[in-house]
């Protein structure tokens, strides 16, 4: 009896420690996943840590060095101890090796668990389409981007695999000189796949354009904001019913607000 009680008690203790540790190690928000990865929370659950995606990435035909004919380092790495990412899960670091957006997306169909969703990178015809990937979003830090200083640079724009779509150049008059043009890179989040080719192409010491995971880089306006000029968005409130809310009004405040003293 006593030993059973002890076993139960020690198991509960172990369970608390184990849960705490497990909960901590899954918190790594700044991580970029392979194309087709489902939402980060679900991804951490679903990934069975087999490494088939990373192996497919490493051994794809396009990964051979043109001069030596040997395989280069693949994009996808498997998190190991010390990487501070959930151990055994695939990720990539654009400044080391970006995602080259292979047309045949070798990393996705091999996933056995459903952590990489083939449908999310397929077009309407059911063919693989890497342009549908959304691994993250490139963000420009204006203060360190030399194009925003007025220096001509379009490295990111030219490196982008979706040239002229994911990053466009916006012309603006340079008021400081009065006779030059700012050529500013603007990222479009509906097109950008987060491959990171812009980040590795960026000429500044630490890239002024960098890819962040969608959860980090994107805000959410909230359901209650409706774009009245956008037919699709407006349709969301097609069936909305009118809700009348009445707030009781103070009769005094409108008359007395000048006397209250908290005008400033």
């Amino acid at each position: 009896m006593a030993t059973t009680l002890q076993s139960v008690g020690l198991t509960a203790l172990g369970g608390l420690l184990w849960s705490g540790y497990t909960d901590e190690v899954k918190a790594s928000p700044l991580v970029l996943r392979p194309p087709g990865a489902i939402k980060e929370d679900d991804f951490l659950t679903a990934c069975i840590k087999c490494g088939l995606c990373a192996e497919a990435c490493q051994n794809r035909e396009t990964n051979l060095d043109k001069e030596t004919g040997l395989a280069k380092e693949g994009t996808l790495k498997m998190a190991k101890g010390g990487d501070h990412k959930l151990i055994g899960t695939p990720y990539f670091i654009p400044t080391e090796v970006p995602c080259y957006m292979c047309e045949e997306i070798p990393c996705v169909p091999v996933c056995p668990s459903g952590a990489l969703d083939q449908l999310s990178v397929s077009n309407d015809k059911g063919e693989l389409d890497i342009n549908k990937a959304s691994m993250g979003l490139a963000v420009v830090h204006k203060e360190s981007c030399i194009a925003y200083w007025g220096i001509q640079c379009d490295a990111c724009y030219r490196a982008c695999p979706l040239l002229g779509e994911a990053i466009t150049i916006e012309m603006q008059r340079n008021e400081r000189t009065g006779k030059h043009t700012f050529m500013l890179p603007i990222v479009h989040d509906d097109v950008c796949t987060g491959c990171g080719l812009c980040e590795i192409a960026c000429v500044t010491e630490k890239p002024a354009i960098f890819v962040l995971p969608n959860e980090v880089s994107k805000g959410v306006a909230g359901d209650h904001y409706v774009k009245g000029w956008d037919k699709k968005d407006q349709d969301r409130v097609k069936n909305a019913k009118e809700i009348k809310t009445t707030t009781e009004r103070s009769n005094k405040s409108s008359a007395d607000y000048l006397n209250s003293g908290d005008l400033y």
Binding site: T11, W18, K26, I48, K49, Q58, M78, K80, I87, S113
Partner: protein
Amino acid sequence: MNKIKYLLLRRFTQVGILILYFGANAYGWNILAGTFGSSLLFGTIPLADPYTTLQVLATGFVLGADVLLGAVIITFFYFIVGGRAFCSWVCPINMVTDLANWLRRKLKLDKDEVNYRFLKRNARYWIMVLGLIVSAVVGISAFEVLSPITIMQRGIIFGFGSGIAVVLAIFLFDVFGVKNGWCGHLCPLGASYSLIGKASVIRVEHDHEACTACMECKVVCPENHVLHMINKESIHVLDGECTNCGRCIDVCGDDALKFSIRNYLKK
């Protein structure tokens, strides 16, 4: 040579399997790719670890059919060859803990029998169930975040990082802490294969007539409570915790032990 036949065979399979996994990543071989969590045999047949699969299912995630089919295939395979045959013929940690055990014997650390009051051999079953509960509560497969087995395997395939510390910790624990501490007391993966082993087909058979009671087998056996029939009766080793490692068969000078097909009809 006959004294280490199964030992050599086991090392050959263990290392061979690791080389195949390594080559799948490094050279694109298409024989055995992935890791123990989930693998692909000859580029077509899915394999998956049953306990890992259960952990993911415990989180409530609906796994891909490949993993489910793979888990069924692996369960059936080890039902045939002996549940914990995984532990002694495949698992790379086995080489670490076998080395630790050998060192223990050399350092004469086993002289005094120690009774570990809180660490019984059935702790692994508690941990196995706990792993599923923690997976369900936290929402990620709990054993996979610290499993020295896959950490070591991935380390060999993709590079260790600081994960090597876990493997070293297991080694130190087994040498200076508890004898057979990891594999024989704690490992929930081994526990899950023990459950398959309870019903397995290929088992070690003891021949009481031939036995001279030298007890060499009990000295080398990492789970020697499974050998309770030695010099008592001629039956199969039916305990699921037997790893089918064959060390007892190797060291037996009387041919009193051998692998054979279990007789399900005999009580």
